[in-house]
């Protein structure tokens, strides 16, 4: 197979060996879950339950507060015990609903629609919207919004993102191996909804068995194709994936629909399949618990809102001192101050690092070595943007591409002077947003 890729990028060690061979196992029912009202891009959901109320697993507990928002469901049965601020999967604190379980795992009624593949697209979309599905690769864009392109932007291609280019993480990989057929069905459903003629599943070359399996599943499907991609970070970034798979360039500041493409994570496709066939809300997902300190790294099917500490405990705890805990992958994930945080709909992994790997190195002067320039997949000059932010010159930062940066971290990964380029650029993005708000 001809492997495709995009310009720029880096090649970190993939470190997937910790959990790559661990089959998906169901995590034990947590005693308490915390369902955040803001697990997605868009406005926070509005609670529809009160403290003290009994809920079933799968029951709606917070509803979308607008079109670009999301429904949230109870992931266990029990009683609502608090609506308060809790630690978010990204380490900050935000509003959430706490449910204390009754240990019975009583569910709302699910269906098994026989002819689900022929449902009208509007009904399919309604079920996705009701199930509270958002992009499960990390960014968390509400899926029903992504599947509602405006009339003047016809979609001809749906790309499923099975790249999983973040080091360590293996949840998408295991899901493809174990639920491959359902993912393909999910892809077909998504294609029906947006009226696309072509479906592509993009998988990185370090998962040859997943590529082989998908090729087998798609052997009799003339409009569906597996695209093997070179091992290169950030291959799974939306614009880079679209470019590698179709050679189309999404305009800067634009969305994939501008070039007739919709990209969905393979996990999202699986959730779409379950939502349409069973009307099952998104209350559980696969998460990789991995890293050198973890005793038995694994891929767990866990309920949304489960505290990370319980998941680590289930994986046998730790065997060495933990220096850093990362919610997500090591390139773009969030370092958590403690394991008290709970998993969300976008939690694809939890990576633990020992003290040696977590050690912070001192920042030096920029050498102008241009390694960051060579690797930037967006063709920017990261050192220049960072320097502009440092010198409080926002205009220069913006003209140098502050808003084109997607914070993939390739630049900071290679910087020999250990300059925290992403941190500076992020600071710039925040200052820019503040300046824009002040203008209004």
């Amino acid at each position: 197979m001809q492997l495709r890729t995009f310009p720029g990028g880096v090649h970190p060690h993939d470190e997937k060996h910790f959990s790559a061979s661990a089959q998906i196992t169901e995590a034990p029912l947590p005693q308490k879950v915390i369902i955040h009202l803001s697990q997605h891009i868009g406005s926070p959901s509005t609670p529809v339950v009160a403290v003290g109320e009994e809920v079933l697993a799968g029951q709606l507990i917070a509803e979308a507060s607008g079109f670009v928002s999301l429904n949230q469901h109870a992931s266990i049965s029990g009683k609502v015990t608090a609506v308060d601020r809790f630690m978010h999967p990204t380490g900050t604190s935000s509003l959430a609903i706490q449910i204390t379980g009754d240990g019975l795992d009583k569910w709302v009624e699910l269906v098994d629609e026989q002819d689900f593949i022929n449902l009208p697209p509007a009904e399919m979309k309604a079920r996705i919207s009701a199930a509270g599905i958002c992009g499960m690769g990390g960014a968390g864009f509400p899926t029903h919004v992504k599947l509602s392109p405006p009339e003047d932007k016809p979609i001809d291609t749906v790309i499923l993102n099975g790249v999983e280019c973040e080091p360590y993480l293996t949840s998408d990989y295991r899901l493809m191996l174990e639920k491959g057929a359902d993912i393909v069905t999910g892809l077909k459903l998504i294609m029906k909804i947006v009226g696309a003629k072509k479906g592509i599943i993009g998988i990185e070359a370090n998962k040859p068995d997943a590529i082989k399996l998908m090729e087998k599943l798609l052997a009799d499907e003339p409009y569906l194709e597996v695209v093997g991609l070179k091992l290169r970070y950030p291959q799974g970034a939306e614009k880079q994936l679209i470019y590698a798979a179709t050679k189309r360039k999404v305009p800067a500041g634009g969305l994939p629909m501008a070039v007739g493409v919709v990209v969905q994570n393979v996990g999202t496709a699986f959730a779409v399949y379950e939502a349409i066939r069973y009307r099952k809300p998104l209350v559980q997902r696969v998460i990789s618990i991995t890293g050198s300190p973890v005793n038995k790294p694994g891929n767990l099917l866990a309920r949304i809102g489960t505290p990370f500490s319980e998941l680590v405990e289930f994986c046998g705890g730790t065997k060495e001192t933990v220096g850093k805990v990362i919610s997500g992958g090591p390139m773009m994930g969030f370092a958590l101050p403690s394991l008290e945080a709970t998993m969300g709909k976008g939690s694809s992994g939890l990576v633990l690092m020992n003290e040696k790997d977590a050690r912070m190195m001192e920042e030096h002067n920029c050498l102008r070595c241009a390694r960051c320039v060579d690797v930037c997949p967006m063709n920017l000059i990261p050192s220049l943007i960072a320097a502009a932010v440092k010198n409080k010159n926002l205009d220069m930062a913006v003209s140098a591409g502050l808003n084109d940066c997607m914070k993939c971290g390739s630049c900071a990964y290679v910087c020999p002077a250990q300059i925290r380029l992403v941190q500076w650029i992020d600071t710039g993005k925040i200052r820019y947003a503040e300046a824009q708000r002040a203008k209004k």
């Binding site: 970190p12 241009a370 063709n379």
Partner: protein
């Protein structure tokens, strides 16, 4: 389980490259040239190199102490600058030369601008330019003969003319007393050629010297460094060995050396021959193996701080270096032009950067 972990911004993963290992790897890559220098000229060349390197380190530490900033000499960049500076001086130079050069290079070339990463031009080359302007005769004459060869790389003087010494004392002095590039430059001077001898044989003799110095036997000496020249520049072989290591380690990139050497190669092939010498296919090889070009192209023109950021910018930079080197060598008053051409292009770098700003992915041209 400890419950407070390190919180920092992503990415939480880093490749192994640090400033320190970049700099010390360049030092390692430069060492084969020093081995050759010690072989040709004895331990004097090692001593001069160490004097240059150590005084650069001491100067940097002293100035950083005065500036009340952390002392960063362990990163190896000052050591490297001192080493490069010493590589650019005559092995027969007095002991204080590398010290003078290094102090100037670090103090005026680097620290006044704020240290590592802020210098507009290559400090080692600036140090060399300072020495050349201050002690021109010490820098351009009094070359040491390599233990096994001659200054100009010519092994067999009889091939030029039997008893050249009595036939033309001037020509004899030239081919025994100058470096290969100096010989070639002098032969471009028509008044010199006319004065070689009175019988009107001048042009003939000049052409014979020119052909001999650019032919295979002399090229072999140039390749191994068996000629007169600066400590670190003579052995093209040793420098290529080091360059291969740096390319393999991904510390330097191939564009600058390739385009630099390529430009010199093409231009000297076209404009290199002297009047009446005819076309010599070996001439461009003579030019890329002689003087400081190998050292300059792989170790000085690839300096991160003073070269453009983008790939296209680096190509423009390298072609500019090549062009200027050839202009200085063929038309200018110096036999060698590598250091000045790199210094000149260093100064052009901000402009090249400005003109080669990349277009962000997906941004539509206005």
């Amino acid at each position: 389980m400890k419950d407070k972990y390190i919180v920092s911004s992503a990415p939480h993963f880093h490749d192994k490259t640090t400033v320190k290992n970049v700099m010390w790897n360049v030092v390692i890559a430069l060492s084969p040239a020093l081995v050759f220098a010690v072989y040709y000229w004895g331990f004097r060349s090692l001593l001069l190199t160490l004097l240059g390197a150590v005084s650069a380190v001491v100067t940097e530490a002293a100035i950083q102490k005065m500036r009340k900033v952390p002392i960063s000499v362990a990163d190896g960049s000052a050591f490297l600058t001192g080493m490069l500076l010493s590589y650019n001086i005559n092995p027969g130079a007095p002991w204080w030369m590398p010290i003078m050069g290094s102090v100037f290079a670090i103090a005026v070339g680097k620290q006044v601008f704020g240290g590592l990463g802020n210098n507009p031009v290559n400090p080692a080359l600036l140090g060399r330019a300072f020495l050349l302007a201050s002690w021109p005769s010490l820098m351009t004459s009094g070359w040491l003969k390599p233990k096994t060869g001659s200054l100009s790389g010519l092994n067999d003087l009889d091939a030029i003319a039997i008893n050249l010494q009595s036939l033309s004392p001037k020509a004899y002095d030239l081919v025994t007393g100058a470096t290969p590039l100096k010989v070639v430059q002098t032969l471009r001077d028509s008044s010199f050629v006319a004065s070689i001898n009175g019988n009107g044989e001048g042009i003939n003799l000049a052409n014979r010297i020119f052909t001999n110095i650019t032919e295979m036997a002399a090229l072999k000496n140039l390749f191994w460094g068996n000629i007169g020249g600066c400590i670190g520049e003579v052995s093209a072989f040793a420098l290529l060995l080091g360059a291969a290591y740096l390319l393999y380690k991904n510390i330097i990139e191939w564009r600058i050396p390739l385009f630099y050497l390529g430009t010199v190669f093409v231009l000297t092939a076209v404009f290199g021959p002297i009047k009446g010498s005819g076309y010599s296919p070996m001439l461009p090889f003579f030019h890329i193996f002689s003087g400081g070009l190998m050292l300059g192209a792989f170790f000085m023109a690839t300096d991160y701080t003073t070269t453009p950021l983008t790939k296209n910018g680096r190509i423009i930079f390298a072609i500019g270096c090549g062009l200027l080197t050839v202009v200085i060598r063929l038309v200018g008053g110096y036999p060698e032009g590598v250091s000045y051409s790199i210094l000149f292009m260093n100064v052009m770098t901000p402009l090249i950067d400005k003109l080669t700003m990349p277009k962000p992915f997906g941004r539509i041209k206005k």
